[in-house]
Chain length 341, copies 2
DNA sequence: CTTAGCGGATCAAAGGTTTTCATCGAGGAG
DNA sequence: CTCCTCGATGAAAACCTTTGATCCGCTAAG
């Protein structure tokens, strides 16, 4: 017995059993065309017989590829697990990467410590590429990642110059127009807006959509909008502020479902009926929220699963050195009507 | 210029610059004691000067260690991103593993395909160990993982024999007793229970706590409990069923916050005031839910962050071949009073 | 008859680290 | 002054795979 019985089989073992050289066996595994049908079959048989699994480390060493991709979130941690949106993104990433047989290495980077660690990790060549979720202005993570010679695809537009960056964004502005037009078509005349934090471009795009649908200038917009910070509590407060400032309001477009849930609470407390007195439209179409508010929330759907899938496909192309026709892609948004508007 | 200027520095480069051999440099990096202070300093200087990063693949190849750990969830996907509990677990895992400088490879395994992939992946030696979240009866994932020669720590008790298994559980039964005793101490006499799905041991433990606190036999318990499946919708329905079966009920212990949110909706619709007519206690103390129900939910806290942290520490010990005093650990639960009871 | 070409297999090097084993030098004991 | 011991160091093997260069046996073209 030359082969020890407990050690995992190596390519050498496979080759021996198939009666070919290591190199040929390797070619079979890598689907090289230059290999005879008999050899191919013999090797495949040996592989299944032995239950052979290529040694990832050895392969990585010579190919200089790790077969792993980092998924980075820069969001503050409380937000990450209060907002179901993140769970959804993570889930979609896990699935899409698994489908490609790529390892997903998840990193939540928030503190400066985390940033240093992320830098070390990415610079250390431990992954082939990265998916980055970092929406905030002056996000350190982006500047860290940007100067690394590493293929990266961003979710949404990171702050700063977009030159040469690869990203997949949702049509936030278009969705906001959709929402606002819908409210107009219901005959609403005093429409206000609870925005996200204005250090995120997605929030700004939604605000811009709102403004353009109503042909507002900056001054007019300032009176009719309030920042809700993309949190439930922020949504409550912003709604209160708007009620005080614009008592006659009859509709509100809220830039996220989570904030909309908060806004609805405020409206209830203020005795306004939804949708009779005030029509409400959210953004995200997050089922777990939108279907459970009172009343169920009309919302703009952005397909996060699709977004992440496209991001992964994009990154895979970069890794294969394929040329990508469009570095920056935009995904459509649609309105999902329920009962709140 | 012997050293190419763009390639990442190797240990050889570090050694050359420090004027020592590769072996000595390696010893410094691995904190071996048998190295002179001068050599140590020289190597460290060279490392920082060059910005050297060890090549993970090369190291893995020789040590037969990958420096990566798999985190496996067997939960059906919709649940994973509707229930904030999972986001919390994932977050905690990411943090705890990052603190140990270990890569976290996240896998969501649900379909038979996923199981096959997980098996291939784990058997392929691509990770040093695994954290497994698989609470359901006859979970394929558990049987797959169990027969692998891989250090594994489970979250909660997996179904089946526990012999030799490493796990970190919450004191579900104790928490349920706490909750029920609390309701008794409020003078409630007709207390009912919305349970989780009875193919999860955590749900069974909570049910058992409820039963023992009220000294119920199986028959009595059957009348006073209803399965809510750990979903919000299930909570609604279970509460309806209980209201029909036990019209005079004046308190309910619900085995999860998400279900409790549903149960509260049902109670409101039925015109029962909370807590005046019916006192409600949940389980999980998930802030994002418990603080936003109407009224805010009294709940049993299980510290998931702590649980995951302990799991990671436990796994690290296994990886270092340290003997662990207790293979199976139990974490305490406490009651967090709010307004619903 | 020589040689270029070709399909297909093999050889051997390379990739970066850890670790065993041997060596070297210094200092202490006899 | 010699012999030992011991700590620090270096040389080299081992880990497993990929891949460019080489080689072999033959056919077809010159």
């Amino acid at each position: 017995m030359l082969v020890s019985n407990h050690a995992r089989p190596t390519l050498e073992d496979v080759a021996a059993r198939a009666g070919v050289s290591r190199a040929t066996a390797s070619r079979v595994l890598n689907a090289s065309p230059r290999v005879s049908p008999e050899a191919l079959e013999a090797v495949n048989a040996a592989v299944t017989a032995l239950g052979y699994q290529p040694n990832r480390a050895a392969r990585a060493l010579v190919t200089r590829r790790t077969g792993a991709v980092a998924v980075l979130f820069s969001e503050p941690e409380p937000k990450i697990f209060d907002d179901p949106h993140f769970a959804r993104l993570i889930r979609a990433g896990a699935r899409a990467l698994a489908d490609m047989d790529v390892q997903m290495v998840l990193m939540l980077v928030h503190s400066p410590d985390d940033q240093a660690r992320a830098h070390r990790f990415l610079a250390g060549g431990h992954v082939d590429g990265a998916l980055v979720f970092a929406p905030h202005r002056n996000d350190e993570l982006v500047s860290v990642v940007k100067k690394l010679p590493l293929p990266v695809v961003y979710a949404g537009k990171p702050w700063g110059s977009l030159r040469g960056m690869h990203l997949v964004d949702n049509d936030n502005e278009g969705g906001a127009v959709l929402a606002t037009e819908h409210l107009k078509s219901l005959g609403r005349r005093k429409i206000v807006h609870v925005s996200g934090p204005l250090d995120e471009l997605s929030a700004i795009d939604r605000l811009n959509g709102f403004k353009s649908a109503l042909s507002l200038d900056d001054k007019g917009a300032a009176r009719l909008t309030e920042d809700g910070g993309f949190t439930r509590e922020g949504g409550r407060k912003a709604m209160s502020a708007l009620l005080a400032r614009v008592p006659g309001l009859d509709a509100v477009f809220v830039a996220s479902d989570l904030m909309a849930a908060g806004a609805l609470e405020t409206l209830h407390e203020a005795g306004r009926r939804v949708p009779e007195d005030v029509a409400v439209v959210g953004f995200d179409d997050h089922v777990a929220i939108a279907e459970h508010t009172v009343p169920p929330l009309t919302s703009v759907r952005q397909d996060s699963d699709e977004q992440v899938k496209v991001m992964v496909e994009h990154l895979m192309k970069l890794l294969r050195d394929e040329t990508v026709k469009k570095k920056q892609q935009m995904l459509p948004t649609v309105l999902v009507p329920r009962e709140s508007a």
